[in-house]
Symmetry: C2
Subunit: 140 residues, 2 copies
DNA sequence: TCTTAAAGGATAATGATTATTATTTAATAA
DNA sequence: TTATTAAATAATAATCATTATCCTTTAAGA
Protein backbone atom coordinates (compact mmCIF):
# COMPACT_ATOMS: atom_id res chain seq x y z
CA UNK A 1 0.00 0.00 0.00
CA UNK A 2 1.44 3.34 -1.02
CA UNK A 3 -0.02 6.78 -1.42
CA UNK A 4 -0.93 6.21 -5.06
CA UNK A 5 -2.88 3.08 -4.20
CA UNK A 6 -4.98 4.80 -1.60
CA UNK A 7 -7.23 6.44 -4.18
CA UNK A 8 -8.00 3.16 -5.87
CA UNK A 9 -8.54 1.27 -2.66
CA UNK A 10 -10.95 3.86 -1.34
CA UNK A 11 -12.82 3.94 -4.62
CA UNK A 12 -13.03 0.15 -4.83
CA UNK A 13 -14.43 -0.09 -1.35
CA UNK A 14 -17.03 2.57 -2.05
CA UNK A 15 -15.42 4.98 0.38
CA UNK A 16 -15.25 8.64 -0.43
CA UNK A 17 -11.90 10.14 -1.28
CA UNK A 18 -11.63 13.07 1.09
CA UNK A 19 -8.74 15.41 1.83
CA UNK A 20 -8.89 14.33 5.47
CA UNK A 21 -8.42 10.68 4.60
CA UNK A 22 -5.47 11.47 2.42
CA UNK A 23 -3.93 13.60 5.13
CA UNK A 24 -4.32 10.90 7.78
CA UNK A 25 -2.80 8.29 5.52
CA UNK A 26 0.09 10.59 4.64
CA UNK A 27 0.66 11.26 8.30
CA UNK A 28 1.07 7.56 9.06
CA UNK A 29 3.43 7.13 6.13
CA UNK A 30 5.45 10.24 6.90
CA UNK A 31 5.83 9.34 10.53
CA UNK A 32 7.94 6.41 9.42
CA UNK A 33 5.34 3.79 10.21
CA UNK A 34 4.15 2.38 13.56
CA UNK A 35 3.17 5.77 14.93
CA UNK A 36 0.94 5.98 17.96
CA UNK A 37 -2.41 7.75 17.85
CA UNK A 38 -0.80 10.58 19.79
CA UNK A 39 1.90 11.07 17.23
CA UNK A 40 -0.58 10.99 14.35
CA UNK A 41 -2.85 13.55 15.96
CA UNK A 42 0.04 15.81 16.89
CA UNK A 43 1.46 15.68 13.38
CA UNK A 44 -1.89 16.52 11.86
CA UNK A 45 -2.52 19.29 14.37
CA UNK A 46 0.73 20.92 13.26
CA UNK A 47 0.18 20.60 9.55
CA UNK A 48 -3.58 20.80 9.23
CA UNK A 49 -4.95 22.38 12.38
CA UNK A 50 -8.50 22.50 11.06
CA UNK A 51 -9.02 18.75 11.04
CA UNK A 52 -10.99 17.53 14.01
CA UNK A 53 -9.49 14.99 16.38
CA UNK A 54 -12.70 13.00 16.24
CA UNK A 55 -12.31 12.77 12.49
CA UNK A 56 -8.82 11.37 12.83
CA UNK A 57 -10.10 8.67 15.16
CA UNK A 58 -12.93 7.83 12.80
CA UNK A 59 -10.64 7.65 9.79
CA UNK A 60 -8.19 5.39 11.60
CA UNK A 61 -11.09 3.14 12.56
CA UNK A 62 -12.34 3.09 8.97
CA UNK A 63 -8.88 2.29 7.65
CA UNK A 64 -8.47 -0.63 10.04
CA UNK A 65 -11.93 -1.96 9.18
CA UNK A 66 -11.05 -1.95 5.52
CA UNK A 67 -7.55 -3.32 5.91
CA UNK A 68 -5.80 -0.15 4.84
CA UNK A 69 -4.00 0.03 8.18
CA UNK A 70 -3.38 -2.53 10.86
CA UNK A 71 -3.18 -2.03 14.55
CA UNK A 72 0.06 -3.10 16.18
CA UNK A 73 0.52 -3.70 19.87
CA UNK A 74 3.61 -3.74 21.98
CA UNK A 75 3.83 -4.45 25.66
CA UNK A 76 3.09 -0.81 26.32
CA UNK A 77 -0.34 0.63 26.55
CA UNK A 78 -0.71 2.58 23.34
CA UNK A 79 -2.21 1.66 20.03
CA UNK A 80 0.03 1.99 17.01
CA UNK A 81 -0.63 1.80 13.31
CA UNK A 82 1.04 0.00 10.46
CA UNK A 83 0.33 0.65 6.81
CA UNK A 84 2.61 -1.95 5.29
CA UNK A 85 0.51 -4.87 4.17
CA UNK A 86 3.30 -6.97 2.74
CA UNK A 87 4.05 -9.89 5.01
CA UNK A 88 6.55 -8.91 7.65
CA UNK A 89 7.56 -9.42 11.23
CA UNK A 90 8.53 -7.00 13.94
CA UNK A 91 11.72 -6.19 15.74
CA UNK A 92 10.85 -4.65 19.05
CA UNK A 93 13.00 -3.04 21.73
CA UNK A 94 11.27 -2.77 25.07
CA UNK A 95 13.51 -0.11 26.48
CA UNK A 96 13.14 2.39 23.64
CA UNK A 97 9.69 1.14 22.57
CA UNK A 98 10.96 1.18 19.02
CA UNK A 99 9.46 -1.09 16.37
CA UNK A 100 10.99 -1.93 13.02
CA UNK A 101 9.61 -4.07 10.26
CA UNK A 102 11.54 -7.22 9.51
CA UNK A 103 11.21 -8.85 6.11
CA UNK A 104 12.50 -12.35 5.69
CA UNK A 105 11.18 -14.59 2.96
CA UNK A 106 13.29 -17.51 4.14
CA UNK A 107 11.78 -17.27 7.57
CA UNK A 108 8.28 -17.20 6.13
CA UNK A 109 9.01 -20.30 4.12
CA UNK A 110 10.57 -22.05 7.10
CA UNK A 111 7.54 -21.38 9.24
CA UNK A 112 5.08 -22.39 6.55
CA UNK A 113 6.91 -25.64 5.90
CA UNK A 114 7.08 -26.37 9.59
CA UNK A 115 3.36 -25.96 10.09
CA UNK A 116 2.51 -27.99 7.02
CA UNK A 117 3.93 -30.97 8.87
CA UNK A 118 3.12 -30.06 12.42
CA UNK A 119 -0.60 -29.50 12.56
CA UNK A 120 -2.06 -27.76 15.55
CA UNK A 121 -5.12 -29.54 16.80
CA UNK A 122 -8.36 -27.64 16.46
CA UNK A 123 -6.72 -24.63 14.89
CA UNK A 124 -6.57 -23.39 11.32
CA UNK A 125 -3.63 -21.07 10.72
CA UNK A 126 -4.23 -18.03 8.60
CA UNK A 127 -1.26 -15.89 9.36
CA UNK A 128 1.90 -15.84 11.45
CA UNK A 129 3.74 -12.94 12.98
CA UNK A 130 7.01 -13.25 14.77
CA UNK A 131 7.76 -10.66 17.38
CA UNK A 132 11.51 -10.53 17.84
CA UNK A 133 12.28 -8.83 21.11
CA UNK A 134 15.70 -7.48 21.93
CA UNK A 135 17.90 -4.43 21.60
CA UNK A 136 18.93 -2.26 18.70
CA UNK A 137 22.69 -1.89 18.53
CA UNK A 138 23.73 1.60 17.57
CA UNK A 139 26.84 1.76 15.45
CA UNK A 140 29.05 4.73 16.12
CA UNK B 1 4.84 -19.49 38.34
CA UNK B 2 2.12 -21.08 40.39
CA UNK B 3 0.26 -20.06 43.49
CA UNK B 4 2.80 -21.70 45.79
CA UNK B 5 5.67 -19.78 44.20
CA UNK B 6 4.00 -16.42 44.66
CA UNK B 7 4.90 -16.24 48.35
CA UNK B 8 8.56 -16.86 47.68
CA UNK B 9 8.76 -14.50 44.76
CA UNK B 10 7.17 -11.68 46.71
CA UNK B 11 9.43 -12.33 49.65
CA UNK B 12 12.55 -12.46 47.49
CA UNK B 13 11.70 -9.18 45.84
CA UNK B 14 11.10 -7.49 49.16
CA UNK B 15 7.41 -7.09 48.42
CA UNK B 16 4.87 -7.56 51.15
CA UNK B 17 2.68 -10.61 51.05
CA UNK B 18 -0.81 -9.20 51.32
CA UNK B 19 -4.20 -10.87 51.00
CA UNK B 20 -5.02 -8.51 48.13
CA UNK B 21 -1.98 -9.59 46.13
CA UNK B 22 -2.84 -13.22 46.60
CA UNK B 23 -6.41 -12.60 45.55
CA UNK B 24 -5.39 -10.75 42.39
CA UNK B 25 -2.96 -13.47 41.43
CA UNK B 26 -5.56 -16.16 42.07
CA UNK B 27 -8.04 -14.26 39.95
CA UNK B 28 -5.70 -14.27 36.96
CA UNK B 29 -4.99 -17.96 37.40
CA UNK B 30 -8.63 -18.91 37.95
CA UNK B 31 -9.78 -16.96 34.94
CA UNK B 32 -7.87 -19.43 32.81
CA UNK B 33 -5.13 -17.02 31.85
CA UNK B 34 -5.11 -14.07 29.44
CA UNK B 35 -7.95 -12.27 31.20
CA UNK B 36 -8.58 -8.61 30.52
CA UNK B 37 -8.46 -6.03 33.29
CA UNK B 38 -12.25 -5.92 33.12
CA UNK B 39 -12.59 -9.62 33.74
CA UNK B 40 -10.14 -9.50 36.63
CA UNK B 41 -11.90 -6.63 38.30
CA UNK B 42 -15.32 -8.18 37.80
CA UNK B 43 -14.17 -11.50 39.22
CA UNK B 44 -12.68 -9.82 42.27
CA UNK B 45 -15.75 -7.65 42.79
CA UNK B 46 -17.86 -10.79 42.95
CA UNK B 47 -15.64 -12.70 45.32
CA UNK B 48 -14.05 -9.97 47.38
CA UNK B 49 -16.18 -6.86 47.09
CA UNK B 50 -14.13 -4.94 49.64
CA UNK B 51 -11.00 -4.72 47.52
CA UNK B 52 -10.62 -1.35 45.83
CA UNK B 53 -10.39 -1.14 42.06
CA UNK B 54 -7.42 1.18 42.42
CA UNK B 55 -5.65 -1.50 44.42
CA UNK B 56 -6.20 -4.05 41.70
CA UNK B 57 -4.65 -1.71 39.14
CA UNK B 58 -1.73 -1.03 41.42
CA UNK B 59 -1.12 -4.71 42.06
CA UNK B 60 -1.25 -5.57 38.37
CA UNK B 61 1.28 -2.83 37.72
CA UNK B 62 3.52 -4.14 40.49
CA UNK B 63 3.28 -7.68 39.18
CA UNK B 64 4.25 -6.62 35.67
CA UNK B 65 7.16 -4.54 36.97
CA UNK B 66 8.50 -7.54 38.82
CA UNK B 67 7.88 -10.05 36.07
CA UNK B 68 5.18 -11.94 37.93
CA UNK B 69 2.71 -11.24 35.15
CA UNK B 70 3.17 -10.15 31.58
CA UNK B 71 0.97 -7.96 29.51
CA UNK B 72 -0.34 -9.48 26.32
CA UNK B 73 -1.77 -7.53 23.44
CA UNK B 74 -4.08 -8.57 20.67
CA UNK B 75 -5.32 -6.45 17.83
CA UNK B 76 -8.13 -5.26 20.07
CA UNK B 77 -7.87 -2.41 22.45
CA UNK B 78 -7.74 -4.10 25.83
CA UNK B 79 -4.86 -5.09 28.00
CA UNK B 80 -4.67 -8.71 29.03
CA UNK B 81 -2.51 -10.55 31.50
CA UNK B 82 -0.51 -13.71 31.33
CA UNK B 83 1.00 -15.45 34.34
CA UNK B 84 2.74 -18.29 32.54
CA UNK B 85 6.42 -17.53 32.35
CA UNK B 86 7.49 -20.68 30.58
CA UNK B 87 8.38 -19.96 26.98
CA UNK B 88 5.33 -20.17 24.80
CA UNK B 89 3.61 -18.70 21.79
CA UNK B 90 0.06 -17.63 21.21
CA UNK B 91 -2.80 -18.89 19.11
CA UNK B 92 -5.15 -16.05 18.47
CA UNK B 93 -8.56 -15.92 16.82
CA UNK B 94 -9.57 -12.45 15.75
CA UNK B 95 -13.28 -13.15 15.51
CA UNK B 96 -13.71 -14.56 19.00
CA UNK B 97 -10.76 -12.65 20.50
CA UNK B 98 -9.68 -15.90 22.11
CA UNK B 99 -6.03 -16.52 23.02
CA UNK B 100 -4.49 -19.87 23.84
CA UNK B 101 -0.95 -20.65 24.82
CA UNK B 102 0.99 -22.76 22.40
CA UNK B 103 3.97 -24.76 23.61
CA UNK B 104 6.31 -26.17 21.02
CA UNK B 105 9.88 -27.01 21.91
CA UNK B 106 10.67 -28.03 18.34
CA UNK B 107 9.55 -24.67 17.09
CA UNK B 108 11.69 -22.88 19.66
CA UNK B 109 14.68 -24.87 18.57
CA UNK B 110 13.97 -24.26 14.90
CA UNK B 111 13.79 -20.52 15.43
CA UNK B 112 16.89 -20.40 17.58
CA UNK B 113 18.88 -22.38 15.07
CA UNK B 114 17.64 -20.22 12.25
CA UNK B 115 18.72 -17.00 13.93
CA UNK B 116 22.09 -18.41 14.92
CA UNK B 117 22.90 -18.46 11.24
CA UNK B 118 20.90 -15.55 10.02
CA UNK B 119 22.02 -12.56 12.01
CA UNK B 120 19.90 -9.44 11.96
CA UNK B 121 22.03 -6.39 11.48
CA UNK B 122 22.14 -4.00 14.41
CA UNK B 123 19.82 -6.10 16.51
CA UNK B 124 20.48 -8.41 19.42
CA UNK B 125 17.71 -10.95 19.91
CA UNK B 126 16.62 -11.68 23.43
CA UNK B 127 13.31 -13.39 22.93
CA UNK B 128 10.93 -14.50 20.20
CA UNK B 129 7.19 -14.82 20.25
CA UNK B 130 5.18 -16.22 17.42
CA UNK B 131 1.63 -15.03 17.13
CA UNK B 132 -0.31 -17.59 15.17
CA UNK B 133 -3.47 -16.04 13.87
CA UNK B 134 -6.38 -18.08 12.61
CA UNK B 135 -9.52 -19.85 13.72
CA UNK B 136 -10.31 -22.37 16.40
CA UNK B 137 -12.14 -25.36 14.98
CA UNK B 138 -14.82 -26.60 17.30
CA UNK B 139 -15.31 -30.35 17.24
CA UNK B 140 -18.88 -31.47 17.72
C1' DT C 1 3.96 -5.31 71.32
C1' DC C 2 5.96 -1.26 68.82
C1' DT C 3 7.60 1.11 64.90
C1' DT C 4 7.61 2.30 60.31
C1' DA C 5 7.66 2.02 55.52
C1' DA C 6 4.81 -0.11 52.37
C1' DA C 7 0.35 -1.09 50.82
C1' DG C 8 -4.58 -0.43 50.54
C1' DG C 9 -9.06 2.27 50.27
C1' DA C 10 -11.89 5.93 48.68
C1' DT C 11 -12.52 9.24 45.65
C1' DA C 12 -11.19 12.95 42.59
C1' DA C 13 -8.76 14.03 38.40
C1' DT C 14 -7.17 12.97 34.00
C1' DG C 15 -7.17 11.93 29.42
C1' DA C 16 -8.06 9.15 25.62
C1' DT C 17 -11.80 7.52 23.01
C1' DT C 18 -16.65 7.50 21.60
C1' DA C 19 -21.26 9.45 20.85
C1' DT C 20 -24.10 13.04 19.23
C1' DT C 21 -25.80 16.21 16.15
C1' DA C 22 -25.64 19.87 13.00
C1' DT C 23 -23.10 21.16 8.92
C1' DT C 24 -20.49 20.29 4.85
C1' DT C 25 -19.03 17.77 0.87
C1' DA C 26 -17.90 13.98 -2.59
C1' DA C 27 -20.09 11.41 -5.91
C1' DT C 28 -23.61 10.64 -9.12
C1' DA C 29 -26.98 11.73 -12.40
C1' DA C 30 -29.99 14.98 -14.65
C1' DT D 1 -22.89 22.65 -14.53
C1' DT D 2 -25.94 22.21 -11.14
C1' DA D 3 -28.89 19.56 -8.02
C1' DT D 4 -29.46 15.75 -4.98
C1' DT D 5 -28.27 12.86 -1.34
C1' DA D 6 -25.89 9.79 1.45
C1' DA D 7 -21.61 9.88 3.54
C1' DA D 8 -18.21 12.33 5.95
C1' DT D 9 -16.59 16.03 8.93
C1' DA D 10 -16.49 19.39 12.86
C1' DA D 11 -17.40 20.69 17.33
C1' DT D 12 -18.44 19.45 21.56
C1' DA D 13 -20.38 16.70 25.17
C1' DA D 14 -20.29 12.26 27.38
C1' DT D 15 -18.10 8.14 28.76
C1' DC D 16 -15.03 5.24 30.86
C1' DA D 17 -10.76 3.20 31.95
C1' DT D 18 -6.79 4.42 34.31
C1' DT D 19 -4.01 7.27 37.41
C1' DA D 20 -3.15 10.47 41.21
C1' DT D 21 -3.94 11.97 45.75
C1' DC D 22 -4.15 11.53 50.35
C1' DC D 23 -5.48 9.47 54.40
C1' DT D 24 -5.78 4.98 56.87
C1' DT D 25 -4.33 0.37 57.64
C1' DT D 26 -1.16 -3.35 57.91
C1' DA D 27 2.89 -6.56 57.17
C1' DA D 28 7.39 -7.26 58.71
C1' DG D 29 11.02 -6.89 61.67
C1' DA D 30 13.07 -5.16 66.00
Amino acid sequence: MNKADLHNVLRNKGLKITPQRIIVFDAVVNLGNHPSTDKIIEHIKNNHPNISVATVYKILETFVEHGILKRVKTGKDVMRYDYELEKHHHLYAKDSDRIEDYYDADLNQLLEKYFEQKKIENFKIEEMKLQIIGKFIENK
